[in-house]
Symmetry: C2
Subunit: 331 residues, 2 copies
């Protein structure tokens, strides 16, 4: 039913090849001819059949995005950025959600890989070995994770932690607790190291508290242990955990920031709405998605693995001070 290239060719009085060229390499065809072709295209509302094109070019014009959990606002924002930027390049985005399941992730990625030109893997939970194997056999860009020789975009966790620490130290805090996320999480390691370095530089103390799920429930579970460290401020793995902390601290009658300051990471929409509103390190989430698309498209245009060197973006966080952080209580 939809118009084909032959319909256009007939209407314009040229061959299908000329139509094809008029559309994809305009400078190769005579201006007058080109005008006739574009007029015919316009009139018929012709759009090239992507399956047919893909068959011969070997490119689908599609990319895939894999995230652990779409319902997590952080990943939803990344997805938003990805699909906005992809649209600009007329690339469609398959979105897949692994439900935080590392095993399912690998299978899903393999299945998806056949249908797309490349994949964006956001905070993948898979092991390094699986990840490298996948990157070997398909075009991959990582977000929030690094792997040898694979392009990606990451956050400057170190810098973000420095901002948070500078803020807390200025408020008089000298002993600060860290509530870690999942052990398998790449970010939790780097954030913990960044925090440690920053605290060392300011001569302040670090108290690490276990490993918790990166969720509201994780924060609730962590609160009592954080309090027990005797720290006057807590930095949480992410905002969801921080908001969980706030809930449990409130339930225990511990005042925030009066008795304890709380700082999160991410700046999801919810953080502004928390009570008290949450001081946090804002990470540019949509920007990460946008850059990932750019990187991926660059890889697709130049599949030479050597030139992938250096194609790694780093984004910087910004400290957003709200109500949950305040002067350290007097000893």
């Amino acid at each position: 039913m939809p118009a084909t290239i032959r319909d256009v060719a007939r209407l314009a009085g040229v061959s299908p090849s000329t139509v094809s060229r008029a559309l994809s390499m305009p400078e190769m065809v005579n201006a007058a001819t080109r005008a006739r072709v574009t007029a015919a295209v316009e009139q018929l509302g012709y759009q090239p059949n992507r399956a047919a094109r893909g068959l011969i070019t070997g490119r689908t014009g599609n990319i895939g995005l894999v995230v652990p959990d779409l319902a997590n606002p952080f990943f939803a924002s990344v997805a938003k950025g990805v699909q906005a930027r992809a649209r600009r390049y007329d690339v469609a985005v398959f979105v897949a959600d692994t439900d935080e399941d590392a095993a399912a992730e690998v299978g899903l990625v393999r299945a998806l890989a056949k249908q797309v030109d490349g994949l964006i893997l956001c905070s993948p939970r898979a092991g390094d070995a699986d990840l490298s194997a996948i990157a070997q056999e398909t075009n991959v860009v990582l977000v929030n994770r690094t792997a040898e020789g694979v392009p990606g975009v990451i956050y400057d966790n170190e810098g973000g932690m420095q901002q948070a620490v500078a803020h807390l130290v200025a408020l008089g805090h000298r002993r600060i607790a860290w509530v870690g996320g999942p052990v398998t999480s790449w970010s939790t390691q780097h954030r913990s190291i960044g925090l440690s370095n920053a605290l060392y530089a300011h001569g302040a103390e670090l108290a690490r508290v276990g490993s918790f799920a990166p969720t509201y429930e994780g924060g609730i579970a962590a609160a009592d242990q954080a309090v027990a460290t005797g720290a006057t401020a807590v930095v949480a793995y992410n905002d969801l955990v921080a908001i969980g902390l706030l809930a449990r601290l409130h339930a225990r009658g511990i005042s925030v920031p009066g008795d304890l300051s709380v700082v999160g990471i991410d700046d999801i929409a919810m953080s502004r709405m928390a009570r008290p509103s949450l001081t946090t390190v804002r990470l540019p989430k949509q920007e990460a998605g946008r850059i990932a698309v750019e990187l991926l498209l660059a890889v697709l245009d130049d599949p030479d693995p050597d030139s992938a060197v250096g194609t790694r973006g780093t984004l910087h966080g910004e400290l957003i001070v709200r109500e949950s952080s305040g002067p350290a209580p007097h000893a």
Copy 2:
């Protein structure tokens, strides 16, 4: 590089046609032959090229999902449901976000329509005329919206409102305010009507308050007007608005639920974390996405527009009572 059907055929010692049949109509080929074919498929890791198949069958095996805003947790959940169910049928999902822009929506839908077998439009902002036109020229399933002759899944807004009202009336509330969402929103009309009917049935009074953005900010803006109605309870268009109400009420020193009860709709994750936690009507969000996929696939299998009659799912809400609703204050 990947194996083609010819490679499989050669290895199995049959023709490509037989391979094709062995895979898509197994009962048509001899059991022994079929075994050889499947063995060859296994060995080569063969997967049919979807572009080539699509070229001849006219089907892509892809569907599209269009939502106003992926960063809105409600839509993120629907998207999660859609892609989970689609995967079960080996269908890939394109996700597109319109940024709440009705004009962009129409263009985006048209572009996407060429690349998929059908579309799921979730809470589309487009006008009825545009919507009908789109449904005419492509397979469409609506979520949270109705249109003449178009299958879809909606929520039983009336029933949800009845539950909320029964709860509030039992707590002694006799005058209840409604904070409406965008005028163009299909749900806002139906929720308002449902609320009105339920209140009438209980002999209670309704006070409507303007139309507000379906966001946290909308709730903040609505709070003072809601208070001014003299109502002892407020039902909000959705949870984001309700949480905005809570924030402004807190800022004004109005106690919830002591002075005023607040009820939301949706039950997004945030509602549990609000302070006070939010009483709300939980809508099955992922379920809506799953059903939408089922409906769409049914339409694809039977494109006869007449049989589309009756293919409309209705989902029921469930009242979740939390801290934000309590006994009406004594007059």
